[in-house]
């Protein structure tokens, strides 16, 4: 939705949503929340950003490929489980340490790093799906031959997921449309 309101609000909303998602992730151990739900919240924040500025902007903002993020998450979760080997207890046993920082006890555990892994997997995988679907078959994909071009265009307008200050996509669309 290429409206000025959305494009003004989107960065703020996204930033707040992401912050909130981390908050939900961390409070999960004692109050409603956790990695799954936190990850889903983060995805919805990124989705808003994508709707406002296009997928290219999201990809640039993420820096890494979403699947790489998911992979890293899986690795973190796996490693959190493996830590217990060094303590001589079964795989995935939760281990806690409580270092004191400036007088405050901070409980840290492999359980929390596992939850971070869950968060990253959900964030990465679902974002990847959303971005892949959201993306116009543009430079990233070869253009499909279009059938029923008009209805498709009307539909695109209706669903308008492409706000796109993404120069590549825009240029392509204009040009191909002109030649057609």
């Amino acid at each position: 939705m290429n409206t000025i309101i959305l494009r003004t609000v989107a960065p703020v909303v996204t930033a707040l949503t992401l912050l909130f998602s981390v908050f939900v992730l961390l409070r999960g151990h004692n109050e409603p929340g956790g990695g799954f739900i936190g990850g889903l919240i983060a995805v919805s924040g990124l989705a808003i950003y994508g709707i406002a500025f296009g997928t290219g902007a999201v990809r640039r903002a993420l820096r890494f490929h979403p699947m790489a993020i998911a992979g890293a998450g899986l690795l973190i979760a796996m490693l959190s489980g493996l830590v217990s080997i060094f303590a001589g207890v079964p795989f995935m046993t939760g281990l806690w340490i409580t270092p004191s920082l400036f007088g405050t006890d901070i409980p840290l555990s492999t359980v929390i790093s596992f939850d971070v892994g869950v968060y990253l997997v959900v964030l990465g995988a679902i974002t990847s799906i959303v971005l892949a679907l959201e993306q116009e078959p543009g430079p990233e994909f070869p253009a499909p031959a279009l059938r029923g071009t008009t209805s498709r265009r009307a539909e695109t307008a209706a669903f308008a997921r492409e706000g796109a200050p993404d120069p590549v996509t825009k240029k392509k669309r204009r040009k191909s449309g002109g030649k057609r």
């Binding site: 989705a47 699947m67 489980g81 359980v111 799906i129 892949a132 499909p144 031959a145 669903f159």
Partner: protein, 815 residues
Amino acid sequence: MAATTPALTFAALMLPFLAALLAPMLSRLMGHRAALVLALAPALACLHFLSFLPEIAAGESATGGYVWVPSFNLSFSWFLDGLSLTFALLITGIGTLIVLYSGAYMKGHPQQGRFLAFILFFMGAMLGLVVSDSFLMLFVYWELTSIASFLLIGFDHDRAEARRAALQALVVTGGGGLALLAGLVLLWNVTGITQLSLLLHSGLPLSASPQYFAILLLVLAGCFTKSAQFPFHFWLPNAMQAPTPVSAYLHSATMVKAGVYLLMRLQPVLGDTPAWEILLPFFGGITLISGALLGLRQTDLKMMLAYTTMASLGLMVMLTGFGSDHAIEAAVLYLIAHSLFKGALFMVAGAIDHETGTREISKLGGLRKAMPVTFAAAALAALSMAGLPLFFGFLAKEEIYLALVDGNPRAIFFLCLAVIGNALMGALALAIGFKPFLGPNRPDLGPVHEGPWGLWLGPVVLALLGLLAGVFSGTAHQYFSTPMASAVLHENTVIDISTVPHLGLPLLLSVLTLILAGLVLLQLETARGLMRRLFDALGPGPDRGFDHAVQGLIRLSVVLTRILQPGRLEIYVTATFILLALTLLVPPFLFNEFPAMPAFPQTVALHEWVFLGIAVIGVAAVLRAADRLTAIVALGIQGFAIAVLFLLFGAPDLSFTQFMVETLSVVILALVMTRLRLTPSDHRPLLQRLFDGTIALACGTGFTLLLLKSVETPFDNALTDFFNAYSKVIAHGANVVNVIIVDFRGVDTLGEIAVVMITGLAVLALVRVRAGTKTELGAGGAKRTATAIPIGKTAAKAPTTKAPQAKPSTGRPDR
């Protein structure tokens, strides 16, 4: 004593695998000399097993092993008696020679390391097979030998025939292996025993069990495929596509005998029944005669040997199943003799091929001066195979005839088969052992000379052993034949046949066999032509049948795929939901398990009514929506209302997740809709709408019934109490739901997030594939190509794009 230390035995069993791992590296470092080092592995293992000899010869057996999975009663355990020890010695002894031989035979081959690794890998598997005590270990090793054989037959994977032969061998022997697994599992079910040694000692009357016949057939399917019995024999000649060391080792001396080994091993348990004594001699006899006749047709040394191997295996199976003690003893003697002379002859064939470049018997001749050592080995081995006195092969043949000389018609029938088979094999043996070496020199072969020592050491040692074992038959019997026969019979027996000819019917039959063999040898050309015409007249054999079966399978799967995967999303969705509705509704009807009408609460708070109402309105809006986007959003409304209800009834976590899932589903569904390029609104005809609506209602009703039924059962608080009590204490978390997810059931979650990630990857791949195929289709029409090209041009200019997209007519982008 070394024999009593299980660690050493374990090391001996693992040594070939270790050597296999080292082989590629060593070959890179040392070239063909690596074989010298690698041969140490089987040699050491052989020495270790030799240390068992006195114990086993005294009639004892040795078991050992380690517990593997105690909860399943599984162990890695071995069982050494006369049978398995003789096999182990054959495998490691011949294996040592084969590794040395391979070093010389494959000298300079760029893939020599890989080859040696495969050979050693096979050796480890085969060794494990024959000493295995537990059924599972036996099966695992059994299949490992099949895989090793696949790798070795297909070693020259550039050639289509080698690939086909490898695949064929794998399908036939691997399929048989599965049958064997079923047989072993059934055996375990019936007896409750998972170890061969216990099974042999239990003395259970298995033949009385109603499952006996099924067990027998399944085990026979495994053994017959492995040991190339008719009608599964066709893979063995094709397996000659493998390099010659492989043929000498796997496909004559060891692997193909695995089936015979298992038959002998299970003889005390499964034998002595009419079924056993009919099936084994029958199929063995057919294999013997057809193998010998098919062998006559060939002119390639290796192929001739391959068919005689098949015939010999048939003979062993026939004797094993014949049902008398003498027959078993004969089978044992023949098995040992065969390993020695056939291994030697194969290696001779390989040496001739290596030095002259041909294996065609008609092109060979006069090599005796050029290759005297090889000739000596070939002659000795051939004479043993033909069964001349002094040789071990003679003893085996005498014992065969001794076993089969009996008044009854059955014995006479099989005696005739044995005489004919032996005579034909004898003729082939003499042809292979002498024809290439005698006669005038063949100048067309060029300058020929003796191969390096590695090429003749193996045949010479094996051929000499065949002679020595015959001459010093007492020692050979004491240490090998007698313990082995005793193990097969599972009672003490003594073999005392010696090489001094004693007058009697067996000797007469031996002479008759030799005369027959001589006659066939003289008329070999005629016989060959005759056999060619005979088998051409018989038409295509099971080898062709295998091809037809494979093609048929492919065609069937194509047809099935077309039916089951027509490629229309509506059909998939309709089928899925019809099935779902049936699954939900049919069982309650069948078992009359309907839930009782639930009791409505007396008071429902106003806000609860409101959210229920919103949910219903959402559903109604979905049905009434004019276009798809509205419908999707309306579905979201309904989902949100449900999420609020979860919140009201004390499940905040669930509710949270539901909110997020609903939000994202609306976004993703809307995106999918744009991708699918549907018309914005729904244009299904009325009839279709009614049909789809009925399915939807049926599914909904089914789920309602299921939910009502499941809340009817009294709620078990055990888990709730457990988690409430321990969540804070053990896992330091107050949020029980999350503690379960990340701590109590952490491994589940790990699996789940892996699934989430795989789903993401799959969606990504699907979206890309779809984009790719569309271009391919689009490039077909001229108009579309015209559309596509400008896009391609633009894309080529775009900095982020890669080259392939600039030419859309090539279709699929290679990413």
